[in-house]
């Protein structure tokens, strides 16, 4: 009986020793990075108030008041072409001295960065290679047009269909 107990204790001891073996940690040299979505799943339309709350925060770096958003909502409802009236409202925003935009120099000198940041800022996603190339070419081809500014790029993004959805 005694030798039986010794054998049982020995087996438990061996089991514990074996069970406490340290796991191997695999390392794959992967860099951590922020992930962004794509535009495939954006299928919910923003309400007028959501749209302008996000847009004004985006452009002015501060939220609009509830009164202002309610007024905007009424004005948008009073016009049949929502995209048109939003463009008019955006151009009102752009006429404000408080709007914060990147410089034209930044857009033309660091075009890649400008495109990337604009996509992330408005669409919460990176541009595809095709989008990046198109915008790069477009900005370069408009370098000689002094009226072509980041304001126009921001207006196009803010008025785009994708910005209406989340």
């Amino acid at each position: 009986m005694r030798s039986f107990n010794i054998i049982i204790c020995l087996l438990i001891f061996l089991g514990v020793i074996h069970g406490c073996k340290k796991n191997d940690t695999s390392r794959y040299e992967v860099k951590s990075t922020t992930s962004y979505g794509d535009n495939l799943n954006k299928n919910k339309a923003k309400s007028n108030i959501e749209y302008h709350s996000i847009l004004s925060t985006n452009l002015f770096q501060k939220p609009s008041s509830v009164n202002e958003l309610t007024r905007l909502d009424r004005v948008i409802q009073s016009c049949g072409d929502k995209s048109l009236i939003n463009e008019v409202i955006i151009s009102n925003y752009m006429n404000s001295t408080q709007v914060r935009l990147p410089s034209r120099k930044m857009m033309t000198d660091s075009t890649d960065r400008f495109i990337e940041e604009t996509y992330v800022r408005f669409f919460i996603r990176r541009p595809t290679e095709a989008e990046r190339t198109w915008f790069k070419n477009f900005i370069n081809s408009n370098k000689s047009n002094p009226n072509f500014t980041p304001e126009l790029v921001y207006t196009a993004f803010a008025a785009s269909d994708e910005y209406f959805f989340y």
Partner: protein, 446 residues
Amino acid sequence: MKRRDFVKKTAALATGSLVLPYLLPTGRLFARSNDPKAEHVVYVIFGGGLRQQDSILQRYLADSQGFNVEGNILYNMLEGAPPSSKIAYGTTPSGLPNGSQPIPKILSQSIQKQGTIFAEMRAISGGHYGGLNSLVTGSRVEGQGLKVRPINPTIFEYARRFGGFKATDVWFIGNTISNSTPLLNSSRHPDFGLQYGANFFAPGITFGADGRNTLSNAKIYHPQEELEPMYKMKNFLDNSFNIRQGDIPGIKNTDEEKTRIKEFIDNTFQRQTAGLIPMPPVNSGDGTTIGYAAEVLRVFKPKLLVVNMSNIDGCHSNFTGYLQAMHKADHALGFLWNYIQTQIPEMSGKTIMTFVPECGRNLNHNPILDENDWYGYDHGDFNSLRVFGGMVGKNVPSNLMIGSESNPIGKVTDFSLTIADILGFKDEVKNAGLLDPQALSLFDRI
């Protein structure tokens, strides 16, 4: 080529060019199904309910308040002498009793003399949204919920699809953004919908204090140097996203049309500041709505413009105010017709104006008394389905009264088909099969 072959081929070519459909510049496949009767239509809706007894039957207070005073307070529209006592339907000059000064007549000849009046028609619904819905769709509206677009296509969509008109050719000017009014510029019918919808403004908001604070500081961009590249980028982004047609709420204008409307909005604020918006001499509420409708007509010369008024609905609680609103609505109607004829040469003599109340009002009063101790009237009973309507302008018979109290002729659902008839696509609208089956063009009722 032999003579016989030449004749044969020429005959075949001539027959083919007559018979085969062709793509018109507007995008239409077929030519219009009937000859247009006029080039433009202006459709005025007296939203809110106009009681037959107080309006066309000219009984003033006799059939409503128990006073034996009759008379016509719609003298731009109808023939008939105004009331001679208990004058409360006019404006209120300082120091004088409420409503004691009637508004001078604008038209030298009444609409009745110039056109055709349907004295006793039938409305589809005695309620608000249903009433307006039936007026713009020409269909019966059973089962139609509130706060949704109409189930059946509106006259705007018929006009754009079958008439081949662009968005700025077709307008709806609403008096308000409540009561689902902004949803009436297009239906949610799968074969029509927003892609054929009308441009819409509710001027009290768009060009009122809210609109001025929100829209009047807009930048006007250079069309080639700024707008063109901006729209190129936007169109690229939209093509990359590529949502389904109709997912974006609201109708769509082309880039050129958008630029025109933006200029219109900007100019309107400037003209408003300068006091240049064409307003009826007595204006407020409905009068202002009509003034902005006139401004849209002046600038865009649309093929179809529908304008809705609603101040008469105050009759629920203020009969005196209702009489005044009715009188002002007649004044506004007279102003609009006069403005089209005298100030818009492109539309003068080429336009038909039609008009109809959304519904009537009840036979019996409610218990609410106003300052004159006159009772209010709601709408919803059989009497509120009694309405009158009319039309005036090119090709409309003049000085003609159709129907009477004992002989009702016409339904409010006739107006959509009448507009289709005027603009030349009556058969297409009829064949779409979505109208009230009993609807007829008012021209066919004459």
